[in-house]
């Protein structure tokens, strides 16, 4: 048996369902793999992969593009989300916020990544605003701060925070990034390093294929997948209705499987578009922190080569 380690990007949640299903259903074992899901840590999964602490990891799209441009050895091998799960969110009772240009001068509760400002600025300017807003960095409490009225708006993962708010009956409204000039993206990937992939081609292929089976199973059987996910994280996932509703949203919203049926496949057009966008917004920087001089070759940032069926 071949051991494969996977680093998470956050607390275990519905985004990770395919990993847990593949493990519990024996897909990994069938492929001769012993998959160890590493605990979530303060250190970005991309950093762990690039430093060979983990073989695979959950990468955010932004993490992939920025870290890779700065020289980290990262390659996306599987798109978890076929479309953007992020939203700009604010409380529904804010009559003063009708469209993004109204966000000028308001306070954003952020997470501390440079691209957030580029993203929100783009959205506001696309809507005819100036793109001037206050940022307070809140780490992980931005969402609570919004509920408390301490910030005016923040970014959420719709299929987690958004669903929770719906379940709680919290009235919120959102703006979709894609509606305001931001290209749609695969929000999360499973990625690895070129160094690992070259040395472990077969293992990597087997891992991605088995993982894809896990996500495909979850799309077919969301209820059973929810049970598996909860059972594998009984200490953590104490809110069954949230898990079930979140999985339902992931499936019904065509996040895990595109309307055309793609699961895990990385869309080159999306990659080029978002890469282009980030490059132009100045969010991509080299290892010394200087804006990337020329447009990077984004085709090297990802590969569908390890998805079963394609080669």
């Amino acid at each position: 048996q071949q051991t494969v380690t996977v680093a998470l990007d956050w607390t275990p949640n519905t985004n990770h369902v395919g990993l847990y299903v593949a493990r519990a259903k024996g897909f990994y074992a069938e492929a001769g793999l012993d998959v160890q899901i590493l605990p979530y840590s303060d250190t970005a999964a991309g950093t762990l992969i690039a430093n060979r602490v983990a073989d695979f990891g959950i990468l955010s799209s932004i993490g992939l593009f920025t870290q890779r441009t700065a020289g980290a050895d990262l390659v996306a091998t599987y798109a978890i989300m076929q479309t953007e799960t992020g939203r700009l969110v604010f409380n529904a009772d804010r009559a003063d916020i009708q469209s993004p240009r109204d966000l000028d001068g308001l306070t954003y509760g952020g997470f501390g990544s440079a691209w957030e400002n580029a993203l929100i600025g783009t959205i506001i300017r696309h809507d005819g605003g100036g793109g001037n807003f206050e940022t307070v960095t809140l780490g992980t409490s931005a969402y609570e701060a919004l509920a408390n009225g301490k910030v005016d708006f923040t970014l959420e993962v719709y299929t987690w925070e958004g669903i929770k708010a719906e379940l709680d009956g919290k009235a919120q409204r959102t703006f979709r990034y894609a509606d305001f000039g931001v290209p749609d993206q695969h929000t999360n990937f499973i990625g690895s390093s070129r160094a690992y992939l070259e040395k472990n081609k077969d293992t990597a292929t087997a891992f991605i294929a088995a993982t894809r089976r896990g996500y495909a199973f979850a799309v077919e059987h969301p209820q059973e997948a929810a049970n598996i996910l909860i059972a594998a994280n009984s200490d953590v996932l104490t809110d069954r209705p949230l898990i079930e509703a979140s999985l339902k949203a992931l499936v019904d919203g065509h996040y895990l499987q595109s309307p055309t049926g793609a699961i895990g496949t990385i869309d080159p057009a999306k990659m080029e578009a978002i890469g282009d966008y980030l490059f132009k917004a100045g969010a991509l920087r080299d290892g010394d922190g200087n804006p990337a001089g020329e447009r990077p070759d984004f085709a090297a940032y990802y590969t569908n080569a390890y998805l079963a069926g394609e080669k």
């Binding site: 607390t11 605990p39 303060d42 250190t43 200490d235």
Partner: protein
């Protein structure tokens, strides 16, 4: 005042000591409960203590499962810290220039914000117990070292001179005089450090752990469960208090002569 106490007197004295404490803690908890219930604040923002307690009891198995790794990390880290502090303190005691060479490093190590250091530690030491032990050791090591070095320095010069006059070697003088002299300082340092040890272990878990009170808190928060966050906080506070009490008991056992001193002074 070494007269024997009657049983009732003992209880009265105990209550005199514990009474005001219970009163103040009780008042605080009651005020919190009333505020949480009457202000209409959402339980996600501030759950009532009764809710926290009820959830803590309901989730006792999960809490217990997550407390064990934290205790292991705390104790293992603390033990390492103690061992290294002890060895280094001895080296410093035998070779003084080491003190001026090493102390600045230790002072600087205390000024490093853990939040910035923790992520690096996983990269270097991985996900096992090691990084947690390292972080706990980092926060507790310096106070223990200082306590030991101060303790040795507190040795009665007359006692050292006496042992020297008897022909005792430096090692012997260390064992017979300097080491026992350091005990009160050692235990004072222990009581301070043990508090940091727990907080340090919880912190270390943020840097990557599968289980533990820190992870439990983080997960509870990401699952919108403030009540479970506070339940874990409660457990960690209790854990600290228990360790605190344990050091006090160990000190009583290890230093029987100190109790007499206290009794005589009063």
């Amino acid at each position: 005042m070494s007269q024997p106490f009657s049983a009732t007197l003992r209880i009265a004295v105990l209550f005199g000591k514990v009474g005001p404490a219970l009163l103040s803690v009780g008042t605080l908890v009651l005020a919190w409960e009333l505020y949480a219930r009457l202000s209409g604040i959402s339980p996600t923002t501030l759950p009532a203590p009764s809710r926290v307690l009820a959830q803590a009891i309901q989730q006792r198995q999960a809490l217990f499962d997550n407390t064990v790794p934290t205790i292991s990390a705390t104790l293992a880290g603390f033990a390492c810290s103690l061992a290294v502090a002890f060895i280094l303190s001895m080296l410093i005691d035998f070779f003084k220039p080491l003190r001026s060479a090493l102390f600045p490093l230790f002072v600087i190590s205390q000024t490093l914000p853990l939040v910035a250091i923790a992520p690096l530690i996983v990269l270097w030491f991985g996900f096992g117990l090691t990084p947690k032990i390292m972080l706990v050791a980092l926060v507790t090591f310096f106070p223990m070292l200082v306590a030991l070095v101060q303790g040795y320095a507190s040795t009665d010069r007359d006692i050292s001179a006496l042992l020297h006059s008897m022909g005792a070697s430096r090692m012997r003088i260390f064992r017979l005089a300097r080491l026992p002299s350091s005990l009160p300082y050692f235990f004072a340092g222990l009581r301070i450090s043990i508090t940091y040890a727990v907080v340090g272990a919880i912190f270390a878990e943020y840097a990557g752990a599968a289980k533990g009170l820190g992870i439990y808190m983080l997960n509870a928060k990401n699952n919108f469960r403030s009540d479970l966050v506070l339940a874990a906080v409660l457990v960690s506070a209790l854990l600290t208090l228990v360790l605190f009490a344990a050091t006090a008991l160990i000190q009583r056992a290890a230093m029987p002569w100190e109790r007499l001193d206290a009794a005589r002074k009063s």
